[in-house]
């Protein structure tokens, strides 16, 4: 193609992609309230109008939430996606947020009835199509559970369309397990739940008698025929979400038990500002994580994960 060709000079100027849309906070749920972490879930409702009407999202996608005066922050959807029976009504969705920076702390101070701006949905989705008729291993580290919960809700909606589904959930300590109260019901619906912590809770407030150690072990133990007689790496898809180091080692463990790199999916995180590939902040190798990610197939990302300061 000629260096001077401008393919889309005549593209119509549609709604400006920087334009936030107003939403109202309908509900706030405190998820984790410990010294280490303050995590809450917002249920927000878009103002009625064309944007709310056409808003659809898939598991793994995110919104840019905007607070005038503070700024914007990229937050994954953590509720049931569009089309799933348990999804909220049109224009309503859930975001689980940790108050850790300037914008998220400001959002934490909002109350029911306050306004917040929304741009989205952005990003690639978890490959739900690839999971049909397959065994699914969902590996979550810490708050990585938030972008994965929409996957669980999707699966629970039509659980018969999937093979064996297991959630491996690793948390730093028992008090930081997200959505703990839901784990039981997910287990009751047929999802295998295996949770582990790095350490027990020294305060004794959250007694823990379960396993201790990194979640990578739970992937490695799948080699055990006695424990997992039905495990078949050739029909297993693995979704991993959590801190980058955790995802890297979990993917390695998955490869060691025979899973193909193209059957492993991760969700990468970088500084996001625009959400649509214009500001350059979220670049990671060739990818704009806001539009080529955050969900990436591991074989395409593998080479870049080992370069920590890419």
């Amino acid at each position: 193609m000629s260096a001077w060709t401008t393919p889309s000079k005549d593209m119509p100027v549609s709604q400006d992609p920087w334009q936030p849309h107003r939403a109202t906070i309908r509900r706030i749920v405190r998820e984790i309230d410990s010294v280490a972490s303050s995590v809450f879930t917002l249920e927000i409702e878009l103002e009625p109008g064309p944007f709310a009407k056409r808003y659809r999202f898939m598991p793994g996608q995110f919104n840019m939430l905007y607070l005038p005066g503070s700024g914007e922050v990229a937050i994954s959807h953590s509720g049931a996606p569009t089309g799933v029976a348990s999804a909220l009504p049109e224009g309503r969705f859930l975001h689980t947020i940790r108050a850790v920076g300037r914008v998220t702390r400001a959002i934490q101070r909002l109350e029911v009835g306050d306004s917040i701006g929304v741009r989205g949905p952005y990003g690639t989705a978890w490959p739900m199509e690839n999971l049909l008729d397959q065994d699914v291993l969902i590996v979550s580290g810490g708050l990585g559970m938030a972008p994965l919960r929409p996957v669980i809700y999707s699966i629970l909606d039509q659980v018969h369309r999937y093979g064996r589904v297991d959630l491996l959930y690793g948390s730093r300590s028992p008090d930081l397990i997200l959505y703990e109260s839901e784990l039981g019901s997910w287990g009751a619906c047929g999802i295998g739940i295996e949770t582990t912590v790095d350490r027990t809770d020294p305060s004794g407030v959250h007694p823990w008698f379960g396993p201790i150690g990194p979640v990578t072990q739970w992937i490695q133990w799948r080699k055990s025929r006695t424990r997992y007689p039905d495990f078949d790496p050739h029909r297993t898809q693995v979704l991993i979400c959590g801190p980058e180091v955790m995802m890297h080692f979990c993917a390695q463990s998955a490869l060691e038990i025979g899973i193909m790199p193209s059957s492993i999916w991760i969700s990468m995180e970088r500084n996001m500002q625009c959400g649509f590939g214009a500001c350059g902040h979220c670049q990671w190798g060739p990818f704009f994580l806001c539009k080529d990610g955050p969900v990436l197939r591991y074989d395409l990302a593998q080479g870049y994960l080992s370069i920590k300061d890419l």
Binding site: T195, R199, F209, G213, K223, P243, V245
Partner: protein, 179 residues
């Protein structure tokens, strides 16, 4: 078997038996070859010294494999189940630090250092173990240099995997609070 529910009735008291609670039970009599740790490196001759053939021994959930301070004389492969390692901390009690799973080694210090066990091992759920008396291993090591080479390479590999797992545990624990 899920492990997200607390095991009831487990009281870690000092009055429990100090001997290993291994018993021969109704467990699969054939060794599941695929469960062997690092199968490619596994020194096949190790199976020759298993007393009573390749039968795995059972340990009921809540039972103790060994106690901190015990002089242990056997190396174990956990064939099935989960075993919790814990360390006694004065003023805090027995602190669980790591769970060992199927296909992993336990009590290699019985062979490597002959020192007393530095932690307590308790079955988190019904488990099966292969027990290798350390004296038999040493005899074989003395007799057979090829076996010795294979055996120590195999143990080293297992140790390095355990080290990686522990490092990940530490990395998560010492992460930047905003991570």
């Amino acid at each position: 078997m899920t492990s997200d529910r607390p095991l009831s009735g487990i009281a870690l008291t000092q009055s429990s038996l100090t001997q290993s609670s291994l018993t021969k039970g109704d467990v699969p009599t054939d060794l599941p070859w695929t469960d062997l740790p690092h199968r490619d490196l596994f020194p096949a001759k190790l199976l020759e010294i298993l007393p009573g053939g390749s039968q795995a021994k059972g340990l009921a959930g809540g039972g103790f494999l060994f106690r901190e301070g015990d002089r242990q004389t056997s190396l174990f492969i956990l064939a099935g189940g989960l075993v919790q390692l814990s360390i006694l901390v004065p003023g805090r009690g027995d602190v669980p630090i790591l769970t060992v799973g199927p296909g992993e080694l336990i009590a290699w210090s019985a062979v490597l250092s002959k020192q007393p066990m530095t932690c307590t091992a308790m079955a988190l759920e019904d488990s099966n173990l292969l027990e290798f008396p350390s004296q038999s291993i040493e005899d074989l090591v003395d007799r057979d240099p090829q076996f010795a080479k294979e055996f120590y390479r195999w143990i080293a590999f297992g140790l390095s995997e355990r080290l990686t797992a522990t490092r990940l545990q530490l990395l998560d624990l010492f992460q930047h609070p905003n991570a």
